[in-house]
Amino acid sequence: MNTEQILNEIREANLSYLLLAQNMIRSDREQALYRLGLSEEVAAMVAGLTTAQVLKIAASNMLMCSFRFDDRLVWSLLGSESREKASDVAGVHAAILMSGRNASRAAVAA
C-alpha cells in the first residue's frame, strides 16, 4: 500500500467515523457516549461540526479514531475461539471488562 492509498483510506475511514458518530449522538446522546467512549464535551463538539468542517477534518493524515482498549486481556478474550458457540463466555467477560474500563475513564473525565 503506497502513501497515496493510505491517505485515501484514512480519509474514507475518518469521514465515515465522523458521520456515524454525529448520527449516533444526534439520535441518542447517552447511548452514543457509551458506544463511542466519548466524554460529554467531545460529543457536543463532534455533534456541532458542520459538513464542511467534517470534510476538512477527515482529510487529515491522521486517523480521528483510536483503539479504545490497551488491555491485553480484553483483546485476548475478544480474539479467543470459544468452545461452545451457544454461549460465548469470553465475549461476555470482555464486555464486562470493557464497560468497567469505560466507567472508570468517565469518572476521571467527570
Binding site: 441518542d28 446522546r29 447517552e30 447511548q31 457516549l33 457509551y34 458506544r35 466524554s39 460529554e40 488491555d71 486481556l73 458457540k85 451457544a86 454461549s87 460465548d88 463466555v89 465475549g91 461476555v92 467477560h93 464486555a95 464486562i96 471488562l97 470493557m98 464497560s99 468497567g100 469505560n102 466507567a103 468517565a106 469518572a107 467527570a110
Partner: protein, 186 residues
Amino acid sequence: MAKRGRSIVDEGREIQRAIELIKLGARLQVLETEIHLSRERLLRLYKEIQGKSPPKGMLPFSTDWFMTWQPNIHSSLFMGIYQYLDKSSELEEIDVITKAYQLYLEQAGACGMETVLSLTRAWRLVKFFDAGMLTTTGCKQCGGHFVVHSYDLTDSYVCGLCHIPSRAGKTVASRAGLAAAAIGAS
C-alpha cells in the same frame, strides 16, 4: 400518585416512558413506582401494548439471585453499562435503566446469550444498589467489576468468569435443550 394540574406535555413524556418500559417487559409494579400516571391508565397501556393483562404476584425480592453464576454475569454486565451511563449523563434514573437495559440486550444478543436478566430484575438490581445492599467489586485477576453483597469480604475476590465453577451454566433448561438436540440428531 398523579399530581393535579400537570401539563399535557409532561403527561405525554410519562406515557412515552411507560410505553418503552412495557415494551422491554416491565412489570406493573415497576411502572407504578416510576411513572406518574394513574394505575388505571397504566393498566390500559399495558394491555394495549402487550395484548394481555399484567402478571400478578409479588416481584422477586431476593439479592441472592444476583449472586448465582449466570445471573451474576448478566447483572454485572448490566451494572457496568448502567454505571457508565449514570456517570456520563444527567438523565433520570429510570431513563438510565431503560437505556442501559437496551444496551445490555444488544450485548447479550451479540454474545449469543439468552437474556437472563429481565427489565424488572434490572430495576430491582439498581434499587438494591441505591439501598446499599449490593455493590460492585473488582476481580483480583481480571479487574472487571462484579456484583457482590455490600458486606461480603472481597479482599481476594475472583469472579465467576476467571474461575468458572465446574457445573456452571448447566441448568435444567440447557440440559433439556441438549437432550432435544441429541434426539433430533439421531
